[in-house]
Symmetry: C2
Amino acid sequence: MSSGTGTEAFAAVDVIVRKRDGGELSDAQIDWVIDAYTRGVVAHEQMAALAMAVLLNGMTRREISRWTNAMIASGERLDFTGLRHPTADKHSTGGVGDKITLPLAPLVATFGVAVPQLSGRGLGHTGGTLDKLESIPGWRAGLSTSEMTAQLDDVGAVICAAGAGLAPADRLLYALRDVTGTVESIPLIASSIMSKKIAEGTGTLVLDVKVGTGAFMKTEDSARELARTMVDLGTDAGVHTVALLTDMSTPLGLTAGNALEVRESLEVLAGGGPPDVVELTVALAREMLAGAGLPDVDPAGALADGRAMDTWRRMITAQGGDPSAGLPVARETHTLLAPADGVLVRLDALAVGVAAWRLGAGRARKEDTVQAAAGIEIHAKPGAVVRGGEPLLTLHTDTPGRFPAALADLADAITVAPAGSQPPHRPLIIDRIV
Amino acid sequence: MSSGTGTEAFAAVDVIVRKRDGGELSDAQIDWVIDAYTRGVVAHEQMAALAMAVLLNGMTRREISRWTNAMIASGERLDFTGLRHPTADKHSTGGVGDKITLPLAPLVATFGVAVPQLSGRGLGHTGGTLDKLESIPGWRAGLSTSEMTAQLDDVGAVICAAGAGLAPADRLLYALRDVTGTVESIPLIASSIMSKKIAEGTGTLVLDVKVGTGAFMKTEDSARELARTMVDLGTDAGVHTVALLTDMSTPLGLTAGNALEVRESLEVLAGGGPPDVVELTVALAREMLAGAGLPDVDPAGALADGRAMDTWRRMITAQGGDPSAGLPVARETHTLLAPADGVLVRLDALAVGVAAWRLGAGRARKEDTVQAAAGIEIHAKPGAVVRGGEPLLTLHTDTPGRFPAALADLADAITVAPAGSQPPHRPLIIDRIV
C-alpha cells in the first residue's frame, strides 16, 4: 500500500521504485515527478534517490526526451522567431582553456546570424564563460529578456546569464546532483544541457562535446554516447542540432584563467591566436552558419579583416564593458621550467585545469568568488621541442600561498621525451555527429 | 576535485561515488558517514543517494557489520549484565496476525529468563506490538531505562517503546528509507534490525524471519539471505543468535487487528488458542530458553498450567494496564461468507493484512492513530471444509465507510476448491538458521 497522496497523481516512492527496479517511467510519471519536484512536493531526498536509480539503471530515449520536455515545461521558453535574424548557439561540455565562445559568438553574428548565448557559472576546473567576461571592467552578465532581445537585434550576439525562469527544475536538479554523486549520468547530463538550450529558443545548436582527461567525458565512447543523446534530443525538439567530438587531453590554446583567456580571445579576434583555438572557432562557426542557412561563407576571413573584432567591441560595449580597458594582471607569478631537453609529449589538461582552479581561477562552491587574473600561461604545447630550464608554464595568482598546491597538481602533468619523440596523434576534431 | 570538507574526514560525495561505482566502503568511510549523518553534516539527499547505491550495488559482510556497529555507536547501548537473569529477546520481520510476542515474552520470563522487548510502532499492514498492547486499558508503552530494568528484575518481561537514545542513526535512516524507495535492501534491513537489537543488550536473540505474501520477504531465497545476514551480524557482535524461517502465506492465527490479537493471545496464555500460534510461540520460546542456558524445559507446560498467564498479568499491571479490563469492541462488523461448498485452499495473508489496515488497525503515516478494535476475525483457515454461505471472515471497524475498500482488498484473497482438494503443503516452520 502507499501512503496517501492527496490530490497528487502519483506517490514519489512508486516512481522511484519503478526506476530502481529497472522499469521504464511513463510519460505521466516523468511529467509529474519533475513538476512536483519544482513545486516542492517531491523532496530533495526523493529526487536524489531517483537520480541515483536513473544513473545506475539508465533511461530510454523516450524517457530522456520526456524528462527534458518536462524540465523545459517547468519554466518559461524564449521565442526569437520575431527577430530579423536566424538564431544559432553553441554549447561546450567544458574543457580547460575553452574560451571558444568569446570569439565565436561575435564571429557568427558578423554574418547576420543572431547568437543568444545564455551561460551558467563555472563550477570546477573548466571555468565559466561569464567569469571570463567579468574580468573586463564594467561588463555585466545580467540582462532582462527585453535587453537581450534588443541586443540580439542590434549587435547580433549576446552572452549573458541564464535567467532563473529557464528550466527551473534543471536548476534545482543540477544543484542536487552536484552534492549527491549523481552528476555522471548521460541521461541526466544530456537532459540538463538540452532543456536549457531548447528553452532558450535557438534555431540551430552546435554542441562541442569534449573528450579526454580535462573533459567531463574521459573516453571517446562516453562522449559519443552523450553527443548522440543530445543530438537526438535537439532534433526531436525541432532544433537543428550537430555535435563535434573534440580533443581535451591537453588545454585548448595557451591560457587557462579568466582574464588570460580574454586576452587570448582578443588575439584570435585580431586575426592571430593559437592555431587550435582558431581551428575550433572556425569549425564551430561553419556549423552554426550552415545550420542557419549560410553554408558557403568563410568565417576565417572575418577574423582576418577585423569584422568579428568590431562585433565583439559592440557586444562588450552593449553590456557596459569597456573593450579598450586594460585587463587585470595577477600580483604574483611563478614559472615552471622544462626539466630536460627533448620533446614535450604530454601536458595534461586536467592537471592544468585543477592547478588554475587552485590558483583562484575557478570556484569550489557556487558562492565562491573567482580571481580575474589567476590562471596559467602555457609556453609549449605537446609536440614542441624544449630545452631544459626554459619556461613551460607561468602560474598567475593574487594569493601566492596557493603556488605550492598548484605545483603539486602539476607534478605529474608534464612529460618531456628524448629528442625525436612525438606525442600521440590526436586530431582536435575527432568526429561530427548529426 | 572535491569541494572543501573543513575538518571532516571525508566528503559525502566521495563516499557516495565509491558505492555508486561498485566499490567497497572502508571502515573509516562507514564510521564517518553514519556519524556525520547523525550530526546533520551529511544531508538527507546525500544519504538517500547512498542508500539507493547500497540497494542497487550491495554491501559485503564486512561493510554490513561495520555499518551496523556505526549505527549502534551513534547512540547509547543498554547493559543488562547486572541483572540476576540471563536475557533473551525475539524479533519478527512482521507478518499478518503476528501477535506471538504477547504470549512469548511472559512465557519465557516464567522460566527465569529476562525478556527486554523494545518495540517500534507498526507502519503498514503488519501492525505493531505496541499498538496491540495499547488496546488494553491503562497500559503504557513508555518506560525509562530504570523502570525497564526494575521490571525485568521483578517480573522478568517488559514490552515497551524503544527510547530515542538507541541507534539514533537508524531512526533517521529508517524514516528516510521509507520515503525514498530504499527500504528493500537486505544490508539496510539487516543492519537496521540488528543495530537496535544489539544496542538493546540482549544475550540471546531469536529471529522470526517470515516468508510469503504477507511478509516483507516474498521469496524463501530472500528471506534466507536476510536471516543469514542477521545471524552473522548477531554472532559477530557476541549475541547468541538463531533464526527461524516461518510461513506467512496466510495469516497467523484467527485474528488480525489490535484488540482482536490481544484476545487471541489471552487464549494462548490460557492454554488454548489456534494451533499455529501455539506451535510458533512454543518453538520460539524453546530457542530463547536454550540460548539462555535452559535447553530442557517445556514451555508448553507453562501455557497449560497458567504460569505464563500469571507472568502476563504481572507484566501488564507493572505498566499500568488492567489485565482484567474488557477490551474495546468495534462499532460495526461485516461478515464475508464462503462463496461455495468445498475446501478453503487459500486465504491470502497480504490481502487480509491490507484489509485490516484499511479498516483502521494500522497506520499509513507515523502520526496516524489506530483503532484498537478494528481488524479481521478469521473463521476458516486453509484446509478447512466450508459450506457456501457460512461465515469466512468478520470485518470489524469503528468507521463502516471503510468496509467497501476492505472488501475490495479481499476480493481475490480467498480460493474455495471442490471437495477433496488440499491446499499446498506449507510447514509453518520452514527452516532453522544458526
